[in-house]
């Protein structure tokens, strides 16, 4: 499949349309039936419910897009089909940050108010703590894995796995020592959830800006990702500064992953499965794969989130990660069987 301008444009337009469609579905899905409200003309209530659902849809699309694009980048950079956004221990770090902030932050600091120019911006310091711990984790993992400024993918993965195990133990320690109810709270957080009670649009605005910057950087690097597929030495001989490219891309991918955890907790599977599925459908060219991952991740997670909204409460609150895995795995297996087994970023 050659990437022509025509194919590129059509694909992206179709993706955008599907995302809009799925978002509309997400706005319609929910425990409250809007029709009676409409008939009674209760516009204010309808507006509030729409606002509430829109926040969930926007969060889901931001988180899904970040995770999928980050996963696509990790798979290309580490040349490992098992790579995913959380492979460097970012989920563990961010989760620990959020949990510690949850337990120990004094009341006055739970909500931060900054002002960007005249606009007041409210940030949850829980999300901020998660993001800062993600940053710290990235610094830690790279500092451990680097050797004279060079980052070897295998050492990096190994370090990430070990650091993640360490964080997992730390989280278990904290939750084992906490009381009953706090432990529940921690477990629910670790399942990942979308949306907040308080309506933090300013936080989502900040996150949106960051996600778009990340995506823009990846779009600029798309050719580099393609060259990396030929192997390090081949990429170097074709004029790519492999080290610089890899370092920048890894840091951006990690930041996007950290951002998603601080917004919605660690939601597994999106970052692993979505890029694979999209690679099978659209081919391995990252000039297309990167933007398609953005849309694909957003569509996938918004859909999963919306489907969750119609599950009756008797079944219980299902974490969105359950749905992503339950729906994603059969689809992935189907695609893998049909594509004849060529899976992953390394086998071409």
């Amino acid at each position: 499949m050659r990437l022509t301008r025509q194919r590129y444009v059509i694909t992206l337009i179709v993706c955008a349309l599907v995302l809009i469609l799925v978002s509309a579905f997400g706005l319609l899905m929910g425990p409250v039936d809007p029709l009676p409200l409409l008939r009674e003309g209760r516009w204010e209530r309808l507006r509030q419910i729409a606002d509430f659902r829109l926040e969930g849809v926007v969060t889901a699309s931001l988180v899904g897009a970040s995770l999928a694009v980050s996963g696509a980048a990790f798979q290309a950079l580490l040349r490992n089909p098992l790579a995913e956004p959380f492979i460097l221990g970012i989920s563990g770090g961010a989760s620990l940050g959020v949990i510690l902030a949850l337990l120990f932050l004094p009341a006055q600091l739970v909500e931060l108010q900054l002002s960007i120019g005249p606009v007041p911006v409210f940030l949850s310091s829980l999300s901020l703590a998660g993001f800062l711990m993600a940053l710290l984790t990235i610094a830690l993992v790279f500092a451990i894995a680097q050797r004279r400024g060079r980052v070897d993918p295998y050492r990096l993965i190994l370090t990430g796995v070990i650091v993640n195990a360490f964080y997992a133990a730390a989280i278990m320690l904290v939750s084992a020592l906490s009381g009953d109810k706090l432990r529940n709270e921690i477990i629910f957080y670790l399942m990942g959830g979308i949306g907040t009670a308080a309506g933090r649009w300013s936080e989502l605005a900040v996150a949106t800006v960051l996600v778009f910057i990340g995506i823009a950087i990846f779009m600029g690097q798309a050719k580099g990702f393609n060259l990396m597929a030929f192997g390090e030495s081949a990429a170097t001989s074709m004029g790519l500064n492999v080290n610089r490219h890899r370092l920048l891309a890894l840091v951006v991918a990690s930041l996007l992953a950290g951002l998603s955890v601080s917004l919605a907790g660690p939601i597994g599977f999106v970052g692993l499965i979505v890029p694979h599925i999209l690679r099978m459908i659209f081919g391995p060219d990252h000039r297309l794969l990167i933007p398609v991952s953005v849309f694909g991740g957003a569509i996938f997670l918004v859909l999963a989130h919306s489907l969750l909204q119609i599950i009756p409460p008797e079944i219980g609150p299902l974490p969105v990660g359950v749905v992503t895995a339950l729906c994603g795995v059969p689809f992935f297996i189907l695609l893998m069987r049909r594509s004849g087994g060529s899976v992953g970023g390394s086998d071409r």
Binding site: P31, I49, F52, E55, V110, I144, G179, K181, L182
Partner: protein, 363 residues
């Protein structure tokens, strides 16, 4: 592959820094863990359950011949035993049994998840009271010669049945009957005063057949992370029973303690929202922050009228001897015009259950 890495560690400055950072994080986590242990519901009062208590455990306070020696991991049952005046028959308690203060010196024998077998063997209670979900441990414990009961404790009626059962098991039927009678009287008093007040409130011009509409109430539990779902008190629960006694009607029609979407709950239009945030939960949250979780639903009556009340009393959700107190608390809360108004006067509250709430300060 690992060995050369280890060898190089001290020589490589960057790695050294990273190692230092790792150590720092290690230390932080440990400190955090320990502090969190301190902050959790094992308050300072329960701290000395270590060595000294272990010594006590092996030589319990001279049990009188014939008296059944009991241990309970269920907070409400422990509280009932103490309220019956049988605290002297208790030889061990659960980790979450924090009331009344007189039982805090007892050795901890476990919690809902694990039992400390060695301590139980040393203490040799005749009777062990577990949560209903622990029934799998019954056989195991009877191997040690300990009789195990796991009574259901989910409704007001259950409380009376358990009191009766404890009276038989502990050989103190009179004490049990006295406590049950006292509790019945206290609850009847709450019901009576609720009726009297609502009769006062009724518009004198209205026809006598028009009973006042009960207040539509939502009782929710807080979520520290402020998620889009909220755990609420549904029908067929202990708290719901108390709420109805207190003259409120639950807006939630689901059964049990359920998680619901905020939008579904808001659309039920409660007139009063009660947030139950017992002390061991909201260690670092103010009432304002819990109330803020509802601020986006401005036209929900409870939000509009500023009638979101945060109740920190741990006994609100605990079936046990303080249930009349909880019903009284709910009734008083429902009468508050807004969250800004002061709660009912202390002297008023004390008439419901004299003596049993004087030292309300929980750890």
């Amino acid at each position: 592959m690992l060995l050369p890495v280890m060898n190089k560690m001290p020589h490589n400055i960057a790695t050294g820094k990273a190692f230092g950072l790792l150590l720092l994080i290690c230390g932080l986590c440990l400190v955090a863990g320990l502090v969190s242990a301190g902050c959790s519901n094992d308050g300072p009062a329960s701290r000395p359950t270590g060595e000294g208590e272990g010594g006590d455990a092996s030589t319990p306070a001279v049990p009188q011949i014939g008296k059944v020696r009991a241990a309970s991991v269920v907070p409400s049952v422990t509280e009932l035993i103490a309220a019956m005046g049988c605290a002297d028959q208790l030889v061990g308690r659960g980790r979450y049994c924090q009331w009344p203060p007189e039982i805090l010196h007892l050795p901890v024998i476990g919690d809902y998840v694990t039992l400390n077998h060695e301590r139980l063997i040393v203490l040799q209670p005749d009777l062990l009271i577990l949560n209903t979900s622990d029934v799998s441990k019954v056989r195991q414990m009877s191997n040690f010669g300990i009789r195990v009961i796991a009574p259901r404790m989910e409704t007001v009626d259950d409380v009376y049945q358990v009191i009766d059962l404890l009276g038989t098991e502990l050989g103190a039927p009179q004490k049990a009957a006295a406590l049950a009678a006292e509790l019945r009287a206290d609850l009847a008093e709450v019901t009576r005063s609720v009726r009297a007040r609502s009769a006062d409130d009724v518009d004198p011009t209205a026809t006598p057949s028009e009973a006042p509409e009960p207040v539509r109430v939502l009782i929710a539990f807080p979520d520290l992370k402020g998620g889009a779902q909220v755990q609420v008190v549904g029908r067929d629960t202990f708290v719901n029973e108390l709420l109805e006694l207190a003259g409120g009607s639950n807006v939630v029609s689901n059964s049990g303690y359920v998680m619901l979407s905020m939008e579904a709950v808001a659309n039920l239009d409660p007139q009063v929202i009660i947030i139950s945030a017992p002390g061991d939960m909201g260690i670092n949250r103010t009432d304002d922050q819990y109330q803020a979780a509802w601020s986006r639903w401005k036209n929900v009556p409870a939000v509009r009228d500023n009638r979101i009340f945060v109740l920190r009393q741990p006994y609100l959700t605990l079936p046990g001897p303080r249930m009349a107190l909880a019903a009284k608390l709910l009734a008083d809360t429902l009468r508050r015009p807004s969250a800004d108004s002061a709660p009912q006067s202390q002297s008023d509250a004390e008439t419901a259950a004299p003596g049993r709430q004087s030292a309300e300060a929980q750890p």
